[in-house]
Each structure stands twice: as structure tokens, then as C-alpha cells.
């Protein structure tokens, strides 16, 4: 019982934005910021570049809202824009810079033994992820971190399901290999 706040659906928010309520777009940004931000940070490897890609994706989506054929699936549509944007950002210098960045804040709450170990682990994972080919990294993150179905990933990336499965498998193998190497450094 009591008063329950009911969040408007994506479709409702999209409808409001299309009707001229720009503020409704703020609710969509807030709704998807963190999840899409996580993907961008892991995919691009540099927080500043990732936030730029995320911001740009939100603005692009707003500009093109008319092309969102199914407003109820705004999130998936937005994901597609971000995936493309991350691709164009590419490997550039961002990934090189990543090698030297340790984000202590992101480590808060980690369940590992001690701070030094956590930093080592974070670095090892970042480095291993950075060494993956972009299409392997993309498939791995979308499948295992963002928890999307292969069919959804296929829709976002334009790749076939069997190709995606192969990429995820290779990504897993390579991550294991790179992390094993890191253990022996």
C-alpha cells in the first residue's frame, strides 16, 4: 500500500520528447547513463574518451529520435548508436593511455583481498582487455558484461550469431592467456 512512484516507460518518454518536452530526454539520459557508460569505459579504455563518446551518442540519439522505429526499445537503439560511436573512437591513443591509469575510485567495494592486489588485478584485467582485438572485446563485453543475447548483439553489431560466438570464445581464450602471462611477470 502507499504511494508508489511509477517511472514512465521509455516509449512514454520518447513520445514526450517528440512532442517537444526536451526535459523528458533528461530522464532517458539518467536512465541509461551508467550502464552505457560502463560499456564505453571498458570498450574504449579511457574514461574521458568514453564519456565523450557517451555524450555524443546521447546527442546523436536526440537528433535522430525520429528514426527510433520502436520507442519501447529505445535502450537497444541507443546501444546501437553507442556501439558504433565506440568503434569510430577506435583504439587510438586512448588504449595506450589506459595502461598507466589506475582508477582507485572504481575499486571501492571490490571483494578482493587487499588494495595492492586489487590494483594489480584491475591493471591485469585492463591490460588483457586492451590486448583483445576490438571486435573480440566488443562481443565479449556485450555478451558477458552487458548480458545481451547473441541475437541482440547481432542486431547491434551487424555480425552473424555464429561469428559472434566465435569472437566471444576467442576473447575468453585470449583473456585467460593474457592473465596467465601477467601472473608470471
Amino acid at each position: 500500500m502507499g504511494i508508489h512512484k511509477v517511472e514512465p516507460s521509455d516509449a512514454e518518454l520518447v513520445r514526450r520528447v517528440r512532442a517537444g518536452d526536451t526535459g523528458a530526454y533528461g530522464a532517458l539520459v539518467s536512465r541509461y547513463r551508467d550502464r552505457l557508460g560502463r560499456y564505453a569505459v571498458h570498450m574504449i579504455g579511457d574514461r574521458e574518451d568514453a564519456e565523450e563518446a557517451l555524450q555524443d551518442s546521447f546527442v546523436r540519439a536526440y537528433r535522430s529520435l525520429a528514426r527510433c522505429d520502436d520507442p519501447a526499445r529505445f535502450g537497444a537503439w541507443l546501444y546501437g548508436i553507442l556501439v558504433n560511436r565506440c568503434r569510430t573512437t577506435g583504439a587510438r591513443a586512448a588504449r595506450r593511455r589506459r595502461m598507466f591509469v589506475r582508477d582507485a575510485q572504481a575499486l571501492d567495494g571490490a571483494a578482493h583481498a587487499d588494495r595492492a592486489d586489487r590494483l594489480d588485478w584491475t591493471d591485469a584485467v585492463d591490460r588483457a582487455l586492451a590486448r583483445l582485438a576490438p571486435d573480440y572485446r566488443e562481443a565479449f563485453l556485450l555478451k558477458h558484461v552487458e548480458d545481451l543475447e547473441y541475437e541482440e548483439i547481432a542486431e547491434l553489431t551487424g555480425a552473424g550469431v555464429s561469428a559472434l560466438k566465435m569472437r566471444v570464445k576467442r576473447a575468453r581464450e585470449q583473456l585467460q592467456k593474457y592473465l596467465r602471462e601477467a601472473e608470471h611477470v
Binding site: R18, A19, G20, T22, Y25, G26, V29, S30, R33, D34, G37, R38, V41, H42, E51, L54, Q55, F58, V59, Y62, R63, S64, L65, A66, R67, Q105, A106, G109, A110, W121, T122, V125, A128, L129, L141, H144, V145, R172, L175, Q176, L179, R180
Partner: protein, 164 residues
């Protein structure tokens, strides 16, 4: 061996699934930018001009109507647009509530030359051409309107010397 490797990957996955702190100012930056950028269709202009990719050569032939600053109470102005592939062209602006039905342009001269005449009281008006009912076109030879809250291309005409 395989079990240990799977454990390693699962540990990576759990590590990557943790929330990532995104700059709290990002929302505000997005909304600032959104408030300034054009989008396909906004209130008052229920059209989606950017979707229309029709290649239309648009040139205003009229004798620079935006420069008319005569002190007369109202000017009669002819707007002309060359749009050879257009099926329809309308003049829309502050003076007709951006209603395409009120100032349809005619192909009086053939060869895709569209024209219409409007009578405007002194003042500053924003206007545009609407091609095929979907494509907004600013007047390529007139000053662009920089204060268009709808974000679609438009131009400015000043009648009677007021405004800018």
C-alpha cells in the same frame, strides 16, 4: 585446468560488471547540447526535415527581399526558389505561423522555379522553404536565423528597417 580457466574468466566478468562511476556533470552537458542542436521534428513543426534526402537545388532568385528596408507600412515581396525535382514547395515563416497551407508556392515559370508573393508588415521575420512537405530549407542567400528555437534551418528577413 579448464575449470581454473573458467574461474578466471568469470572473475574478470564479475570485475567488469561492477558499476563504473560516470561524471555527474554528463547529464547537464548532454541537456545543454540537446537544447541547442537540431532534431528531426519538434513542437510546432511536426515534420522530419533531415530525413528527407531529396537533392534539391535551392536558390532564391528574388531580388534580395531580405534587404528591403523601405519605410512603407507593408511590403509586397516575391519569394522564388529553384527546386527542379520538387513536387511541392511552400513558404513558411513567422508571418504565416509556419503553416505550409497558407503560402504554397507555384511553378509559374516551369523548370522548377517556384514563386509566391506575400505582403509583410514592418518587422523581422524568420522563414524557410518547405520542399515536398518534409524538407526544410533555409534561404541559401539570406542571413541565417541564429535564434531559431526549433533547430531547423531558417533565414531572416527584415521589412521596414526594424529588427536585424
Amino acid at each position: 585446468m579448464f575449470e581454473r580457466e573458467d574461474e578466471t574468466v568469470e572473475r574478470v566478468i564479475q570485475h567488469l560488471r561492477r558499476p563504473v562511476a560516470i561524471d555527474a556533470g554528463l547529464d547537464a552537458r548532454v541537456m545543454r547540447e540537446v537544447a541547442q542542436v537540431p532534431r528531426e521534428g519538434r513542437r510546432g513543426r511536426p515534420l522530419w526535415p533531415v530525413l528527407a534526402a531529396a537533392a534539391v537545388v535551392a536558390t532564391v532568385l528574388v531580388a534580395r527581399p531580405w534587404n528591403r528596408t523601405a519605410a512603407s507600412k507593408a511590403d509586397t515581396l516575391q519569394f522564388v526558389l529553384v527546386a527542379p525535382q520538387a513536387a511541392s514547395v511552400a513558404l513558411v515563416g513567422d508571418f504565416n505561423d509556419w503553416d505550409p497551407a497558407r503560402s504554397p508556392m507555384q511553378t509559374a515559370h516551369g523548370a522548377g522555379i517556384w514563386a509566391t508573393v506575400v505582403r509583410l508588415a514592418p518587422g523581422r521575420y524568420r522563414y524557410a522553404f518547405l520542399v515536398n512537405g518534409v524538407e526544410w530549407r533555409a534561404d541559401p542567400n539570406a542571413p541565417a536565423a541564429k535564434d531559431d528555437e526549433f533547430g531547423t534551418p531558417s533565414s531572416v528577413i527584415t521589412v521596414g528597417g526594424r529588427g536585424s
